[in-house]
């Protein structure tokens, strides 16, 4: 009897403990801190770091992905070597695989658990993520930092749709560019095209040149990747994805013309038939493996394209790069893709987090990383400060790509900063994919516009 009572007692205790843990866990809702109250003041060094080390011994966690990306790897190593030595703050980079990273950002910014102090996000998620981010305007002003350091699309992404508020500081960004096999262009006596018509005509010559397809397109579904070229063409032709009221604007004559031109790159047989299903990785791999003569992609890809350890050596020695073509008499507009870093409003270490954010996004930190070519796995050409993009030394070390980007990004744009963007992007990427598979362009664009109108009215 006593034994039974004992068993019941233990079970009851165990159940109570589990329930207490559950209730406790549910009850610990995140609380928001006031960033200004958390940030210490005092004398600073040339990088803006507080020389009195007020956060010495603090450990902060950064929610990030893609550890092997050269720029990320370089910044992590520099953090341990330089930042921790100067401030006493240790930084842990959480490396979440990219495939599940966007969900993790949402979980951390929208639900919030207090696990992380800082977060990095790609531009398209800014409007959704800002619910969990601290506005940075005032601390930036105090630290004499400004979004004017960056190109227009990076500034747009940092504001995440609020013209008056800064939610993150750009630390990684690039324009969309034309990469091509330099030797084929020389052999055929052609220069990188200035207009899309000219580009199409060149692709006729490049078809089969060197035993390769002319162009590696990407028309498959994968996180909106088949929209990158399309949006740049749309904007350059004076059309838009959404109008000022957030309603579809891509069915204008200019929008339809741009879409027809985009699909013609595939339908005219310049891009392999398989590219109807290709993602960004598929198309760049095709170029890296020497199957295609040209590809449109992000500037950072130069780090891979020019690395004989990552691509065929013949390809690595034969890369040319130019700005995207445009439309006659109209300014060329590229999509400027941005990664930003911000402070989570549930963090208990916001002062230390700001200290790290200041250092990591400082132009001098970025310059050091861009000039350091001592190790292959950390060598990167990515710079986002206009000052660094125009720096002769930085350009000399990075194929003159930074100044090409600076020029392209002057007219650059970012994706529409609306919380409906994930749904809108889905409708558009499906429409592009279906058109790549033969759907009529005009009705398909109107159908997509109708779907977007419905979902934005909900």
């Amino acid at each position: 009897m006593r034994r039974t009572s004992g068993t019941i007692g233990k079970l009851a205790a165990a159940l109570s403990a589990v329930l207490a843990l559950l209730i406790g866990g549910c009850a610990s809702a995140p609380s928001e801190q006031d960033l200004l109250e958390e940030v210490a003041t005092g004398p600073t060094d040339e990088l803006g770091l507080l020389t009195e080390k007020p956060y010495d011994g603090t450990h902060i966690r950064l929610l990030s992905c893609c550890r092997t990306t050269a720029q990320f790897a370089a910044l992590q190593r520099k953090t341990d070597r330089e930042f921790t030595a100067k401030t006493g703050i240790t930084v842990e980079w959480a490396n979440i695989p990219y495939e599940s990273y966007l969900q993790k950002i949402v979980a951390e910014t929208a639900i919030g658990g207090g696990t992380y102090d800082l977060v990095v996000w790609p531009d398209a998620y800014g409007a959704s993520a800002k619910i969990g981010l601290q506005p940075l305007n005032e601390v930036m002003r105090r630290a004499d930092r400004s979004l004017e350091e960056f190109s227009p699309p990076f500034q747009q992404a940092a504001r995440a749709g609020d013209p008056e508020t800064v939610y993150g500081i750009p630390f990684r960004g690039f324009s969309y560019n034309l990469f091509y096999r330099e030797s084929e262009y020389e052999r055929l006596g052609i220069e990188p095209a200035k207009t899309w018509d000219e580009f199409s005509a060149q692709l006729d010559k490049l078809d089969g040149a060197g035993g390769r397809d002319a162009f590696a397109g990407q028309y498959g579904r994968n996180g909106g990747q088949n929209l990158y070229t399309w949006m740049s063409m749309l904007w350059s032709n004076g059309a838009d994805v959404l109008d000022d009221d957030g309603q579809p604007a891509f069915t204008s004559p200019e929008g339809i013309a741009a879409t027809e031109q985009y699909l013609a790159l595939l339908r005219d047989g310049h891009s392999p038939a398989a590219s109807t299903n290709w993602t960004e990785t598929d198309s760049t791999q095709s170029f890296e493996q020497g199957h295609t003569n040209s590809v449109l992609t992000w500037a950072w890809q130069m780090d891979d394209f020019s690395d004989p350890a990552k691509v065929q050596p013949k390809v690595a020695e034969d890369i040319g790069v130019a700005s995207l073509p445009g439309w006659p008499g109209k300014p060329t507009v590229t999509y400027g893709y941005t990664w930003l870093m911000g402070i989570l409003n549930t963090s208990d270490n916001q002062g230390a987090a700001w200290e790290y954010l200041k250092w990591l996004t400082h132009p001098d930190t970025e310059r050091d990383v861009a000039l350091d070519k001592s190790e292959g796995d950390t060598a990167t050409s990515v710079v986002v400060h206009r000052k660094n993009m125009l720096d002769p030394e930085v350009n000399a070390a990075n194929h003159d790509l930074p100044k090409l980007q600076e020029s392209a990004l002057r007219n650059g744009r970012t994706v529409p900063m609306t919380i409906d963007w994930p749904q809108i992007q889905d409708v558009l990427e499906v429409a592009i994919n279906q058109m790549a598979h033969g759907a009529d362009i005009r009705p398909k664009l109107h159908e997509a516009a109708a779907q977007i109108r419905t979902l934005t009215q909900r």
Partner: protein, 305 residues
């Protein structure tokens, strides 16, 4: 005769007596409540509320059946339902049909039977996500090894973009599933075949039945209860298809391979509309519930026999 007093053991109270087994079950029940019942109930409540993660941290106002009305007026939901139905029918028919063929072949014992049976389990042991990536890579029209093999054997296949054509993309998805499941089903059916007495077939043979008649009139009826269970089990797993959609086709081309689970996932974790995703998930739960009930009924009938 001296009277002796027999000390009868004090009987336990009926309540206490009955509660002990339940208390021993409690930890397991608690685990089920926490991991299954609580999320289901929570999702049910959320399905009646407006909640987009990029608008508010907490679930918003109650909207009654609005999310369910939206489900049943959403063309993309119906597309996903149709895709799932097609996928389920194709994958169940092929998996069970092929599994049965393999089982019948392996039922003739040879020296290699044991080794073959051991090898059969390998495809099922491959992680679905890995399976998806591998098939996607192998069917690449430019560099894929399967594509090259098929092109050399079937000339008409030369121009087929396996993952770029809506029909073939769904077929490929089904085939990745069949590749994993048919061997497992074969092993399950082999167990069933082994339980059929050889004398029954021998008697049919003596009565003049040919091989087909032996199978159709003797083996198949005896195997039917097990086949029914296998069909329901496979159907439940087919309706749940998700990993391979993500890794093989991403739901494309267009929306040709968007399954119900992929649709629910997109609503919740890509579009951040948790309220709507909960409603979609509950519709899927109901569909799976019907299949599970049919499965349990089939099991019960078999046990009754």
């Amino acid at each position: 005769m001296a009277a002796t007093t027999v000390q009868r053991p004090r009987s336990r109270s009926p309540l206490r007596k009955h509660s002990v087994p339940y208390l021993h079950l409690a930890p397991a029940l608690l685990a089920v409540v926490l991991t299954t019942v609580y999320p289901l109930v929570s999702a049910l409540i959320t399905s009646f509320r407006h909640w987009r993660l990029n608008e508010t941290r907490e679930a918003g106002e109650f909207v009654g059946l609005a999310q369910y009305q939206r489900v049943f007026t959403d063309d993309t939901f119906f597309n996903s339902a149709l895709v799932t139905l097609n996928f389920t029918v194709i994958s169940v028919v092929l998996s069970v049909g092929l599994g049965l063929c393999i089982a019948l072949i392996l039922n003739n014992r040879t020296r290699l039977s044991a080794l073959t049976k051991a090898l059969l389990i390998l495809p099922f042991a491959v992680a679905p996500a890995l399976k998806g990536f591998s098939w996607r890579f192998m069917l690449n029209p430019d560099t894929g090894v399967y594509d090259k093999m098929l092109d050399s054997v079937l000339p008409f296949a030369d121009n087929i973009n396996w993952l770029g054509d809506p029909f073939w993309a769904l077929m490929v998805l089904a085939l990745t599933e069949v590749w994993g499941w048919a061997p497992l089903i074969a092993l399950m059916l082999l167990g069933g075949l082994n339980s059929i007495s050889p004398e029954v077939r021998e008697a049919a043979r003596i009565d003049g039945a040919n091989a087909w008649q032996q199978f159709w009139r003797v083996t198949f009826p005896l195997l039917r209860p097990l086949l029914l269970i296998v069909v329901f089990l496979k159907a439940v797993f087919s309706v749940k298809i998700f990993d391979q959609v993500v890794t093989t086709t991403g739901g494309g081309p267009g929306r040709a391979t968007e399954s119900l689970n992929f649709f629910a996932y997109s609503q919740g974790f890509t579009f951040l509309d948790i309220g709507y995703a909960s409603a979609v998930s509950w519709v899927i739960v109901l569909v799976l519930g019907v299949l599970a009930a049919l499965y349990l009924i089939a099991m019960a009938r078999q046990e009754a026999k």
